[in-house]
């Protein structure tokens, strides 16, 4: 990176840490530290909600998916607006009325302490692991693309975040989230602008999108009914609805965002910001990947964007094979570039016959490029034994570092940092809240002073930050662990939502029904995941429905036996 880019990243880090630390003045009591005394404006909370959800994995991974598969990933968010409305009508007013610190606190008031303990424990377990992954994933990519030391990159993302979250509490989290969201939007906007300006003179934006459309990359909505496909209109609308209900309604890292709002209506309005803007934003991010695909039609890309094992393969016995692949790739790229130019020219000239022929030629040329990339990936896997090797997540960082102008490289690296830090900060803050409120203050040290709990809260935030950094250091060297953590989240999300559905939706639900329903729901999800190839979004539906059904049956049996006893 150029010195100017380094300066941009350093200025960003100093600015965010300074802004976070100065918020400590407003956190002299536990309610101020965890909930900002319920005083924050809706727009700041709304931006914090969006920044928490948009992690670096989303920013880097989604652009990569746009490059490789197109816009289909936007379907994941189709259920979000309806989820926000349902939450605004149901859980949000319940949480405000109950004046809780954590979502799980409400479960004890409605059911019993063990349901609260189990739910909070599941949250702590999954979020502590995912917090490490959120640090590790961008750190691994940045360290490979920029040649940085991995441990220092993990610490560079993790330590500043731990510092300002520990000292400034939720005030620091929210107000830095606002600034980080601005940095992310600026970075995304800069990437789009550069990509549009770097199109060749003979290709218009419309022609570029038509060329991408020829390969299927402009297909955002897939109306087929296939439960095994990850992203379809229906899995996004129904499975995504359950996922978003669970994430925004039962995950403390999000619930805590809107509990800091001034009133229940400001809490609702903060959620409405995501309802309005999330789908357009999530359409724009994979669109960057599609534009990068178009860019690399006219500028030669590397055979593989992930060059982690490059030196090892070149030094191996199969180095000659790899070199031959590089030559084949150059020839395939040149043929595809010419086919893309011919396609753009045919579009301008009009005429269905010529257009159909050039489209077919372009698809064939694109297929040859993809085939060489596929063979190169297989070769790297064979030589290194790294079965999880892939390069989708490296597309965007490679484009940024090799093709963006000086200064903007720093801005986008800062945006990747911002996306990671905003999510980590919210999760550390939520982990600390759940630990202190659901466990420490309730079970270990009851009746201590507010000052004591405040000090413990800060120490616990630091502890979870340390855990996240340690998990990140291990996760960075265990690639598939990331998948394990993501899958683990989908095991418990739907089930947790089911318990809250029982709590809010049925007066007949008993504490025994809720507790055993939650355990049975997770078992049902584990069974379905084990013995079917159903897409993960549907697991949220399975979990929620199983908990409600089993929980209600147990509750009704419970009530009838109670009546008999009476």
């Amino acid at each position: 990176m150029h010195l100017l880019d380094w300066a941009v990243v350093v200025v960003y880090l100093v600015w965010i840490v300074w802004d976070g630390l100065r918020r400590s003045k407003a956190t002299s009591e536990v309610e101020g530290y965890f909930l900002a005394n319920r005083s924050l404006p809706w727009w700041a909370v709304g931006l914090s909600v969006m920044a928490t959800q948009l992690s670096a994995i989303t920013l880097v991974g989604t652009t990569g998916r746009g490059y490789s598969d197109g816009l289909g990933v936007v379907q994941l968010y189709l259920g979000l607006p309806v989820a926000m409305i349902i939450l605004s009508v149901t859980l949000v007013p319940f949480f405000y009325r109950a004046r809780v610190f954590t979502a799980y606190e409400y479960l004890e008031r409605r059911f019993d302490s063990r349901t609260r303990t189990l739910a909070s424990f599941l949250f702590l377990l999954s979020r502590a692991l995912s917090c490490g992954v959120i640090i590790a994933a961008p750190a691994v990519i940045l360290s490979i693309v920029l040649g940085w030391n991995l441990t220092l990159t993990i610490l560079g993302i993790g330590l500043p975040t731990v510092l300002y979250t520990m000292v400034g509490g939720v005030q620091a989290v929210t107000w830095t989230d606002v600034k980080q969201m601005a940095v992310i939007i600026a970075g995304v906007g800069a990437a789009v602008a550069v990509l549009l300006f770097q199109l060749p003179d003979h290709v218009s934006v419309g022609e570029a999108l038509h060329i991408a459309g020829t390969t299927g990359r402009m297909q955002a909505l897939d109306f087929t009914w296939d439960p095994n496909k990850t992203y379809t209109f229906w899995s996004g609308l129904i499975g995504g609805l359950f996922l978003m209900l669970a994430y925004f309604g039962c995950d403390q890292s999000q619930v805590q965002r809107y509990l800091t709002a001034k009133s229940v209506d400001e809490g609702r309005q903060s959620l409405m910001m995501s309802a309005y803007f999330k789908i357009p934003l999530q359409f724009l991010i994979p669109m960057i990947g599609v534009l990068i695909f178009v860019f690399y039609l006219f500028h030669q890309p590397p055979v593989l964007f992930n060059r982690q094992h490059d030196a090892e393969v070149r030094a191996s016995a199969r180095a000659g094979e790899y070199l031959a692949m590089e030559e084949a790739f150059t020839a395939a790229f040149e043929a595809r570039r010419d086919a893309a130019s011919a396609l753009a020219a045919a579009r301008r000239a009009g005429g269905a016959g010529a257009l159909g022929t050039t489209e077919a030629a372009f698809r064939e040329a694109d297929g040859r490029v993809a085939a060489v990339r596929g063979r190169a990936t297989a070769l790297v896997r064979d030589v290194t034994g790294d079965r999880a090797f892939g390069d989708v997540n490296y597309v965007f960082p490679t484009f940024v570092t090799e093709r963006m102008p000086i200064g903007l490289v720093g801005l986008i690296v800062a945006a990747i940092f911002a996306a990671a830090m905003s999510s980590i900060a919210a999760e550390l803050n939520a982990l600390s809240t759940a630990t202190v409120i659901d466990f420490y203050r309730r079970l270990w040290r009851t009746g201590a002073s507010d000052a004591h709990y405040l000090s413990v809260s800060k120490l616990v935030t630091g502890f979870w930050g340390l855990v996240a950094c340690v998990v990140a250091l291990y996760a960075a060297n265990l690639g598939p662990l990331i998948d394990v953590v993501n899958r683990f989240g989908s095991f418990f999300y739907g089930s947790l939502l089911g318990v809250f559905m029982l709590a809010v939706g049925s007066k007949r639900a008993t504490s025994r029904g809720a507790f055993w329903g939650l355990l049975a729901g997770m078992a049902a999800v584990a069974l379905v995941a084990r013995y079917s190839s159903i897409a993960f979004l549907w697991l949220n539906v399975v979990g929620a429905v199983a908990v409600v059904a089993i929980g209600m049956v147990i509750s009704l049996l419970d009530r009838s036996s109670t009546r008999k006893d009476a």
């Binding site: 009133s263 309802a275 309005y276």
Partner: protein, 44 residues
């Protein structure tokens, strides 16, 4: 649709959010139709 509002001082007020929610649904429909039209136009 009428809902209860709980302010910081525990004062309870009634506020009608029907228009807010209807606006969200309307915008989502417009956005999804817009995405579908983009897909139809550029999808070759």
């Amino acid at each position: 649709m009428s809902e209860t509002r709980v302010t910081a001082s525990d004062a309870v007020e009634e506020r009608d959010n029907t228009r807010l929610y209807a606006g969200v649904i309307l915008v989502e429909v417009i956005v999804v139709v817009g995405i579908w039209l983009i897909q139809r136009y550029f999808g070759s």
